[in-house]
């Protein structure tokens, strides 16, 4: 009986490995064909990479919220993409108002800072309230309960946004200071992408500093490791968990602004796909691991950006850029098959 069970598991593993191997072979084959055909120039590849880095930086900011909440509560907060969406609306209404007043043109830097402050405040407030109202009462419930609640929170926030702001896509006003490109040798970098790089780098450095070097950061790490032991040091565990949501919310709010700057739109459903991608990035890096979320986000952004041309063109697939989401989720599947702990992670299987 036991032997048979064991054999079935082996067969399941084998099938998964064969699927994974098949995908890998297709990817390698597609890449070789594309590269030898010389269809894209070096400058084009570099542009794909730069776009991917900007997109990946946004994923990284969102992924941090997933990974920090997982690290501290062992819970996947499926509503996190909606924190991002709420922040993006905050940014939208701020720029719209500033554009109307003409302030956006006169004072672009201050305007962007104002967008950031509003978006981060909105996302952080939504995150902290969600924790307080929906998750904290379930702290001692079985693991599945907060997970399902998170899906409920996600829908609640989506439909709240729809009710408040309508179901149409809101177009961000043009920010003259951020339109156009800067020529760097053979490649043109969009100004908006430069803004994303600067903001993402600053946010990540601040987060690193807070988590590694400050008392608050040590409190967060201690609670993530052992809640009772942390309480015995004098750490207020509930407050620290709320703080983790707050920081995750701030990062998501910043991501909301960056998304608005690059894609120039906001809608009530905009949190879903980026949220899922950022979750993929967090798993890719090793969920619970902060550096992993950054690495996962950036790699996913780049793979998604060069993947369609690199892997799919060579396979003769028409309109490959329509399939970039499929590439992202294929990456997720491959990671779960070959390295379930993610790139930098430990023991996902034990805790998830």
């Amino acid at each position: 009986m036991l032997a048979r069970l064991r054999r079935e598991f082996d067969i399941a593993d084998l099938v998964l490995y064969l699927i994974g191997l098949g995908l890998l072979i297709a990817i390698v084959y597609g890449s070789i064909v594309t590269l030898s055909s010389g269809k894209y120039t070096t400058a084009q590849w570099l542009n794909f990479i730069i776009f991917g880095l900007a997109q990946g930086g946004i994923y990284a900011l969102i992924a941090l919220g997933y990974t920090m909440v997982y690290g501290i509560l062992g819970m996947i907060n499926f509503a996190h993409g909606e924190f991002f969406m709420m922040g993006s609306f905050g940014a939208f209404f701020t720029t719209a108002a500033l554009a109307e007043m003409g302030f956006l043109e006169r004072n672009p830097i201050l305007s962007i800072l104002l967008m950031m402050v509003v978006a981060m405040t909105v996302s952080a407030a939504v995150a902290v309230l969600s924790e307080r109202i929906a998750y904290r009462p379930l702290r001692r419930a079985p693991r599945l309960v907060p997970l399902i609640t998170a899906i409920g929170v996600s829908y609640f926030l989506q439909y709240t946004a729809r009710g408040l702001f309508g179901s149409s896509v809101k177009a961000f006003p043009n920010i003259p200071a951020l339109s156009g490109a800067v020529q760097l040798g053979p490649i043109a970098i969009q100004r908006s992408q430069i803004a994303v790089f600067v903001v993402v780098a600053l946010m990540l450095l601040s987060l690193y500093f807070i988590v590694q070097r400050t008392k608050v950061g040590r409190a967060i790490r201690s609670v993530a490791e052992d809640k009772d032991a942390a309480a015995l040091m004098g750490v207020d565990v509930d407050r620290t968990i709320a703080l983790t949501f707050l920081i995750g919310g701030i990062m998501a709010g910043a991501a909301g602004v960056m998304y608005g700057i690059v894609f120039r739109q906001a809608s009530f459903w905009m949190g879903f796909v980026p949220g899922l991608k950022a979750f993929t990035a967090a798993v890719l890096g090793g969920i619970g691991n902060i550096a992993g979320a950054v690495l996962g986000g950036i790699s996913l952004g780049v793979v998604e950006s060069i993947g369609p041309s690199l892997f799919l063109d060579g396979l003769g697939i028409a309109a490959p850029h329509q399939l970039k989401d499929a590439i992202a989720f294929t990456v997720l599947v491959l990671i779960l098959i070959f390295r379930p702990t993610g790139l930098l992670g430990e023991r996902l299987s034990k805790r998830a």
Partner: protein, 238 residues
Amino acid sequence: MALLEIQNLHVYYGQIHALKGIDLHVDQGEIVTLIGGNGAGKTTTLRAISGLLRTPEESKIKLQNEELTRLRAHHVVERGVIHVPEGRRVFARMSVQENLTMGAYARADRSGMDGDLDFIFQLFPRLKERRAQLAGTLSGGEQQMLAMGRALMGNPKVLLLDEPSMGLAPVLVEAIFDTIELLNKQRGTTILLVEQNALMALQIASRGYVIETGHIVLSGDARALSTDPRVREAYLGG
């Protein structure tokens, strides 16, 4: 006057009535030991004192006559009751130094902290050698030293120690008990020591309590307890 006083302490885990009315007290400067077999309720007692467990209305826990009952754990720490938990529970993914810093989390006086750090490194030179190392890579004995050092960083009025000798080689057990005695003698630290190793605990304590299935069944002078036939039979191998 008792520094720490516990009256009629009850703890329930759902339907399980784990502590059924414990009374004990610890005077200023004393080592008091709470001994008993596995599952008797020793850990539960310490966890209730330090605010990790809820207690019903009729239970009272007082420090210098001020109620600690129903304070949350981080507030109990602020009052100076510091608990070294069973199994040490050091932060494995933090360095030795960071663990010690965590021990001073609830503390405001920087000057006192530096002095305490020197004292801890004098007490446990091994911790000083390994201060940059991750705590998870320490041996069991070193982790116990770290857990105690971390607690001392909080400048305890009362130190609650839960089976500090658990899982250690006999030489190390000896060293840990020596350290506990030294802390008490040199610094006057008041200690409530929970142990299964009854003989050794009674040797360094001034008084002891024997707990069985949630009741205190015997208490008194440590020397008298260590010669009491009931204690000898149950815990000291006859």
